[in-house]
Symmetry: C2
Subunit: 397 residues, 2 copies
């Protein structure tokens, strides 16, 4: 992430700090962060470090990085933190000095039980931080920064929405290639390789683990969920389901589309497949229509979930929607059921400027039907950033 | 990392568990681990997961993965954990069940204050784990796994040493290109790009953050430490210092070499430069001669450090050596001074089968002299895996 965007996100963070009554945010306290990167690095740090390093953002707007001398040039070059303090022997000394100088009452640290994307400090580094602050007035001031980090990830700046739109646009381009890529006998993994190559050629990176980005399912025997494309070869009578995300200039898309491969004798898909598509479409629409600022995420999941149940399908094992940004699962408020697996995230309210990927899927005798689109929460509801698939698409081999 | 190597490392880990009297090792308890990867993933897990997932290794040899249903296919495909338990709503239920079944007295968790590479669980996930175990007999059984993880990273299997040697061999090949790459006016960043390209073409990846792998310094005005190659153009009278690491099949090299660019009138480097090279060489030799199983790492650092001081140079700000493996800074026992920055790592004893990168550098009026080589600790001492640079190399533009 270039420093101008990180810098603007830190300006935005200062507002959230003041709202929350937090005097100082230890955005990160980490070491060897190239080997152990976390989502806060590209959001609020701007570079990797080797030796223990603290990145501090005060409610006053002051930004201070305390880093080993070998990392100083690098952190200065990143240009996000105006004040860069180098140390040789012990990070504790300058860290305690800066803490005394800011003299905070509430200090937020980037960890969270509920929100995976806001859980960025290791347990060992948290213990080291406690050790450094032992005996100071700040030892008892540490609180989780999940509220600040959740908002910072969630409330997109216009530049962030534009980048997500760029990633979506490129993903639509790849979907446009599908009629020519779907050939008799092509395997799931061959198609996945081809789509990855076409993405790379356009400057896009995978939005998640490239071993299953894209997920490609041909027919009913293919793996479900986050599984790698396999050796199944394409044949008539199969559904083709693709879940594809691209990262462009640091921001992600996440979309699913479904095609049906007609048998020579067919002019449309079997009734069961058509009904399943319709049920997924109705579920997507029911969830989408619910979206607006202020509602907790579970209400949208409930509408989408119930629509599918009413159509006679088994209950979905997954959340209806997740936030999208620098990562494909951007943490924070979730359009998910109130299951322990999702913690408190389904209770969090939606807000204008959040971006969600909404998705629904059902299995059929011809393979899975899956749809996923990316939406922006607006003042009055939500709008699609992608062009939803409204009808099952047909191909002939 | 392919599963066969991960599987052999887990066999090795079982021995360390028994030695340490640990009944169960929670190798990882993580979520969204593609977005927040840690070094334990390629060492002891074998794939990434989306939902909260626990990877358990018992002293009995039993290996159990407890993962969200959407990750099951993926974890099975990785083939490292024989027992894969899928859950839909709550990881706590199957995790408590497996804990009861194993009924451990001491449970190691992958965190460490001292050893960065053994500090792999987030603070939020540690709190979640404590929450799940609250009210069970296992709540008070959690201890840091740093000893097990430190040994597992440190004691290389023969297959691991061979891969490090492959990475070193490729690095030597790139150094062999230097006489033809060093041309009047080439900039640091141009040379860095060229070396990265030559590495990629041979199937090597950067061993650390590619923004400063390689580090390239032309002359005395260049950035120090972990800094990005800049716009300095090569000219006679400059030292050329390269710090380059490659990752080949998951294992790293880390080497430094130094060249002097002769002025038309010169047949050798200025005396100050020659003396500085000699001092670095003497320091490297003094440290290397000290290496053998059983010594704490600081003793080798001390010998190398004192040799440099005796030659009249300022004290080094860095450790003399660090371990090398799947990462360029592989954690655990460190050949470093007893400074707080390095925690307890300089006290840890060396052992046969460990691999270290040893390094020394001094600034001169013509630029930095820096040397770094990779060595294997043997029963009787240590042997070089790389071919050390014994004399300053000269180039003419």
């Amino acid at each position: 992430m270039e420093s101008s965007v990180v810098s603007r996100k830190l300006d935005q963070a200062v507002g959230f700090l003041r709202e929350a009554g937090i005097d100082l945010w230890i955005a990160q306290f980490a070491r060897e962060s190239y080997e152990q990167p976390t989502p806060v690095d590209t959001l609020a740090v701007g570079c990797s470090v080797t030796w223990p390093a603290a990145f501090l953002v005060a409610a006053s707007g002051r930004r201070t990085a305390i880093v080993g001398t070998g990392d100083v040039a690098n952190v200065r070059a990143a240009g996000v933190y105006d004040e860069v303090v180098g140390y040789v022997q012990d990070v504790a000394v300058p860290l305690r000095e800066v803490m005394s100088d800011v003299n905070p009452t509430r200090v937020a640290v980037s960890y969270s039980v509920a929100d995976d994307m806001a859980d960025n400090i290791t347990h060992g580094m948290f213990l080291m931080l406690q050790g450094i602050l032992a005996g100071t007035p700040y030892f008892d001031c540490l609180v989780p920064a999940e509220g600040i980090l959740g908002k910072l990830r969630a409330y997109k700046l216009p530049v962030e929405v534009r980048r997500i739109q760029d990633a979506i646009e490129m993903t639509h381009q790849l979907f446009g290639l599908m009629p020519q890529l779907l050939r008799e006998g092509v395997t799931e993994s061959e198609l996945a390789d081809r789509l990855r190559g076409e993405g790379r050629a356009r400057g896009g990176a995978p939005a998640w683990d490239p071993r299953y980005d894209p997920i490609v399912n041909f027919g009913p025997g293919s793996g479900f969920g986050h599984s790698e494309p396999g050796t199944v070869a394409l044949a008539p009578g199969m559904l083709v389901h693709i879940d594809l995300g691209l990262k462009v200039e640091g921001y992600c898309s996440d979309l699913q589309r479904t095609w049906y491969v007609l048998r020579p004798s067919e002019s449309e898909a079997p009734l069961e497949v058509q009904e399943a598509f319709a049920a997924v479409r109705v579920s997507m629409d029911a969830g989408f229509e619910t979206l607006r600022p202020g509602i907790p995420g579970w209400t949208a999941d409930r509408q989408a979930r119930d629509a599918l149940l009413r159509a006679g399908y088994a209950e979905s094992e997954f959340a209806f929607g997740h936030q999208l940004g620098q990562t494909a699962h951007d943490g924070g408020a979730l359009l998910g059921p109130p299951w322990p697996r999702y913690g408190t995230r389904p209770e969090m309210p939606l807000g204008e400027g959040m971006v969600f990927a909404i998705e629904q899927a059902v299995p059929t005798e011809a393979g899975p039907i899956g749809l996923e689109d990316d939406v922006l929460i607006t003042a009055g509801g939500a709008e699609y950033l992608s062009q939803p698939q409204t009808a099952l698409e047909y191909v002939r081999l």
